[in-house]
């Protein structure tokens, strides 16, 4: 979750780069963990530590942490699949601090579908058994990656026992007992890529990203493979809020910190054509819970721009005004007026996997 408005962590293919705003001007750091692919990077607001998941092509996936947030990273024991699973971790896709009341708890969503938790601040990790059982019994498949992957992890600020995970491809799962049991919560969703007879299944959906509205945790926003969705009842039911052709296909979605009716997406052309719409890069904003969407183009390229942000590469600051995203071609943009006008942070970054306010 965003915690400030003047510092951004960019997990790039060549290291962890920071954008900082000082005296009204943004500037970029040289990469931390230089040369290493950073799949995801986030700051733990509870203690100030920076976490990074590293995807070494050769040496496997690793976790690194800068406890003092001083630029010096130390490798943390990596979550490992237990022997009985006969599985190895392929990707640590998302890192999420635990509830404020559980300061030593931290969650990691992985490919091929395992959810890991540490209860001792990273000294040891445990695979969540009940969710892994669902993954195996229902043969979760991959979406975007070879195996199934957990890319969205939400802890309810009201209750540490209450969490959601979103899985490509399974859908959204909810626990109300701290992970002892899980239920699929995908009512109202579609999966056009499966046979028509299979549409009412409990699982098999492809959420691209799910975000909770911090000001009303019963409101959830979902960018999905088959449209944009919103839930007003804690994921018990989902309403489609797509507006074709624009507000339909995309990866990230950001929820306004104080207005539960407001969110942003960065639209793409379609599943079949993974580019921008007509070479135009822009945000879409809704202020009425998805009933209508408005284009926000100021300062963004409106011709010959074909790059787009990955699912973790759009975020909004705690002021609800500072917004940033970065793309597959290393273009990064920031807005300080809720998306109306954008300025370039860089046109020369490596591919950006994740962008998070820190």
């Amino acid at each position: 979750m965003a915690t400030t408005n003047d510092r951004i962590l960019l997990g790039t293919r060549k290291g962890l780069i920071e954008a900082r705003k000082t005296n009204g001007a943004w500037s970029l750091s040289a990469p931390g963990l230089p040369g290493q692919p950073i799949a995801y990077a986030a700051r733990d607001a509870r203690n100030g530590a920076l976490w990074a998941s590293i995807d070494h092509g050769h040496w496997g996936v690793k976790l690194s942490r800068s406890k003092a947030d001083n630029g010096e990273f130390e490798e943390v024991t990596a979550p490992q699949y237990p022997e009985a699973t006969e599985t190895a971790a392929k990707y640590y896709w998302v890192l999420t601090p635990g509830h404020a009341d559980e300061p030593d708890t931290f969650w990691v969503g992985t490919e091929p579908g395992g959810l890991f938790v540490t209860r001792d601040d990273g000294a040891s990790w445990e695979l969540n058994g009940p969710l892994w059982t669902l993954c195996k019994e229902h043969a979760w498949s991959g979406g975007g990656r070879d195996g199934a992957g957990i890319h969205s992890l939400i802890v309810d600020p009201r209750d540490p026992q209450h969490m959601y995970v979103a899985v490509s491809c399974a859908g959204v799962c909810e626990t109300k007992d701290g992970g002892a049991s899980w239920a699929y919560v995908n009512k109202g969703m579609r999966m056009d890529y499966w046979p028509p007879e299979e549409q009412d299944r409990e699982y098999g959906y492809d959420p691209h990203f799910v975000a909770m509205a911090p000001s009303n945790p019963d409101v959830l926003w979902q960018a999905n493979h088959c449209g944009v969705y919103r839930s007003k009842d804690g994921a018990a039911t989902w309403d489609e809020i797509s507006e074709k052709p624009h507000a339909y296909f995309g990866f990230p979605i950001a929820a306004h910190p104080t207005r539960p009716e407001t969110a942003w997406i960065i639209p793409m052309h379609s599943d079949q054509n993974r580019t921008t719409l007509d070479g135009r890069l822009f945000a879409l904003r809704t202020d009425d819970g998805g009933t209508s969407w408005r284009e926000q183009t100021g300062g963004l390229p409106q011709t010959a721009a074909w790059d787009f942000p990955y699912r973790h590469a759009l975020d909004v600051g705690t002021d609800g005004e500072t917004l940033a995203f970065a793309t597959t071609s290393g273009n990064a943009y920031v807005s300080e007026d809720g998306g109306e006008h954008w300025q370039v942070l860089s046109n020369n970054l490596p591919l950006v996997y994740s962008l998070r306010f820190a």
Partner: protein, 90 residues
């Protein structure tokens, strides 16, 4: 004693010498010894199942190891073991 040589890429993560002498009968034992000496190094070479990572190449006495799953290739006395990155993508 066999002799282990390391790719320079691993020196980014561990303070490794040019060569290291090891007493081991199999590649699995080599990895075990390496991990005892440099805790965590084994997890760079193998995954949690003990299998060689897909893009890691281990050579023993001039041949790439055949058993990438359980690492039971024999390590002859006085042989040289190279731990390298496979070249994938140039």
């Amino acid at each position: 004693m066999a002799t282990v040589r390391f790719t320079p890429h691993l020196r980014r993560f561990f303070d490794l010498p040019d060569t290291w002498a090891v007493e081991a009968g199999t590649v699995a034992q080599v990895v075990e010894r390496l991990d005892e000496r440099w805790p965590g190094l084994g997890f760079y070479i193998t995954d949690e199942r003990g299998a060689l990572r897909q893009h890691v190449a281990v050579w023993v006495a001039g041949s790439q190891v055949k058993d990438r799953i359980t690492l039971q290739d024999a390590v002859p006395a006085d042989s040289t073991i190279d731990i390298l990155q496979s070249l994938t993508g140039g």
